[in-house]
Amino acid sequence: MNQTEKIDVITAEGVTKVYDADGIPVNALNGVDLTIQAGEFTAIVGPSGSGKTTFLNIISGLDAPTEGKVSLAGKVISEMSGNELSDYRRDNIGFIFQAYNLIPVLTVEENVEYIMLLAGVPKAERHKRVIDILKVVGLEGVEDRLPTQLSGGQQQRVAIARAMVSEPTIILADEPTANLDSKTGADLLEMMRKLNTETGMTYLFSTHDPLVMERAKRLITLRDGLVESDEARE
């Protein structure tokens, strides 16, 4: 993909989020304006509680903002129906969560092919793509295991494979390395960085892990629900 095209994947304008914590309002986001463009490899950093998870949830439609507008590839999320949003997520967003969040009753292969099943990809192609992507993330031969039979690092690799297998426009990763040892974390980051360069897939991380920050091409710092700094790297 040509990085000079500058296609806006995500645009957030004046996004605020007020949580209701047992009657006490918590201001998680206080007016965030951000644009993420195709091909980026960007990290949102900030101390715990600065609103990183909240921001990722809102830009992917997993949660609704209190105020403000979020557009995904030019479409305003709040104007999408539940089904449209589901389809949009299925086709355009790959998720990697801090807690892996694999479906416990499904095997590795079933977890990875799940989104393709939803999208109606034929069985033979599903299988081929699962095998290919598991090779990419370095997980050959564990297709038939259940998530509980894998280490944390292996589970996160499955989660990465699941996020990438349908070739989404953007991958959102919420502290993907937080539960991993630094060696495993570094390996996975190298792998994603490589995929970013080779395929142009857009990555947006939230993290406070220096490993991620070092490798990010753009670093956005959140503090108290506001963008404190936004710098290009390299």
């Binding site: 997993l62 539940g82 589901s86 997520r89 479906i103 009753v105 499904l106 939803l118």
Partner: protein, 404 residues
């Protein structure tokens, strides 16, 4: 597709599946047994009341039931009996004559009810021979023999071999008066009959009362009491004679039937309570199993599962487990009800209803004991899962997945 995931969930989460299914199976089996027992008890009461006594259907001269009279007779009863016997579902028929009179043994006298029976037919239809508790039953030919009720024997201080003189007025107005030998003493199972009954051979009664070739009643026994209404209508049609009345048992003993229907209404309340308890049990387990998986549904939605698909996933799982539970519960229900229909359970205390004694309760395997629990379990499971299914479908993934 969601069906496939539903199956995987069910088979890979065995503990949860077994727990949910267990609640349903236990509920199903319990309510099945309760229904089987209570229906069995009713059938038992009805059978005791009808089978061995009044029969399932009675045929009389029209008006006899409301106002019995020695003159309201059926004359061609043999041919009528044959026509009835030809009806589908009819097992047996037997003719009877009823009159009253005075019975005397030596110095003692009392009012008696004279019942003329066709001995051979009565044995087949109502097990008359089994009611004779002392001495012998009547001979199949008319020999001036009589079998009297247990209490009547006491009243008259009669013993086997005593002579009883019956005194009354015959159908032609003449005096009916003759002497008979007591050959047996009967317990008919009901108090009033035991006090007054004198069973005679039908030919003897016809002779005594000048009623040659005529009877008052034809008792019909059917093979399945639940088909009484249909068979009774069919007989009416076949006989095609408006001078006859064809009455199913519940019209013959209307007051008893009405009392029983009332009692059944009380029973319906008890059933409803059981059904309700089962429904609550199912509700609880289904709700728990859905709630503890909020996070999983959140993930499914986060990666692009449509709300409606999540909805169906929850419903499918519940329906599959419910179906399985119903099949197992039905087998257990039939098994236990069958055992209880053979061996029965004793009542805490025996009771007497309309002169009939009951000491044991037998279950019955019928459609209701499967259909009612099946409907209960299925409907409550599905209704109960609707709420969590909708909740799961509308879940905000971010909230569902939040770690504390």
């Amino acid at each position: 597709m969601m069906l496939k995931i539903a199956f995987r969930n069910i088979f890979r989460q065995k503990r949860r599946t077994i727990l949910t299914a267990l609640a349903m199976i236990v509920g199903f089996t319990l309510s099945s047994i309760v229904i089987g027992l209570s229906d069995g008890a009713y059938s038992n009461v009805i059978e005791m009341f009808t089978g061995n006594r009044i029969g399932h259907i009675q045929v009389h001269r029209a008006g006899y039931h409301d106002k019995p009279s020695i003159y309201k007779t059926i004359s061609n009863y043999e041919s009528i009996g044959k026509m009835i016997q030809n009806e589908d579902g009819v097992e047996a028929w037997t003719p009877r004559i009823y009159t009253g009179g005075l019975g005397s043994v030596d110095e003692r006298s009392t009012a008696v009810r004279i019942i003329g029976i066709d001995v051979a037919r009565e044995n087949i239809a109502t097990n008359f021979n089994k009611k004779v508790i002392e001495g012998n039953t009547l001979s199949e030919t008319a020999l001036h023999e009589v079998v009297i009720g247990e209490k009547l024997a006491k009243t008259l201080a009669a013993t086997l071999g005593s002579k009883i003189v019956l005194f009354s007025q015959a159908a032609d107005g003449s005096i009916a008066n003759d002497e008979y030998t007591i050959v047996g003493i009967a317990d008919s199972g009901d108090d009033i009959t035991n006090r007054v009954a004198c069973y005679l051979h039908i030919d003897d009664v016809q002779e005594l009362f000048v009623l040659e070739g005529r009877v008052h009643e034809i008792v019909v026994i059917v093979s399945n009491i639940n088909k009484v209404e249909r068979i009774s209508n069919a007989i009416t049609e076949r006989l095609h004679d408006t001078s006859l009345e064809v009455l199913p048992w519940y019209q013959v003993v209307k007051s008893f039937y009405d009392a029983m229907q009332k009692d059944k209404q009380g029973d319906a309340v008890a059933r409803f309570i059981i059904v309700f308890i089962v429904a609550i049990g199912v509700l609880n387990t289904v709700l728990m199993s859905v709630m503890e998986r909020t996070r999983e549904y959140g993930v499914l939605k986060a990666v692009g599962t449509k709300p409606i698909q999540v909805f169906w996933l929850v419903i499918y799982e519940v329906v599959i487990i419910t179906m399985g539970s119903i099949v197992i519960g039905a087998m257990l229900g039939v098994f236990f009800n069958y055992l209880l229909s053979v061996y029965g359970v004793s009542y805490a205390e025996g009771f007497t209803l309309a002169g009939v004694e009951f000491g044991k309760m037998y279950a019955e395997v019928n459609v209701a004991c499967l259909l009612v629990p099946a409907t209960t379990v299925f409907v409550s499971a599905v209704v109960v899962s609707l709420f969590p299914a909708i909740k799961a479908a509308r879940i905000m993934p971010a909230r569902a997945m939040r770690i504390h």
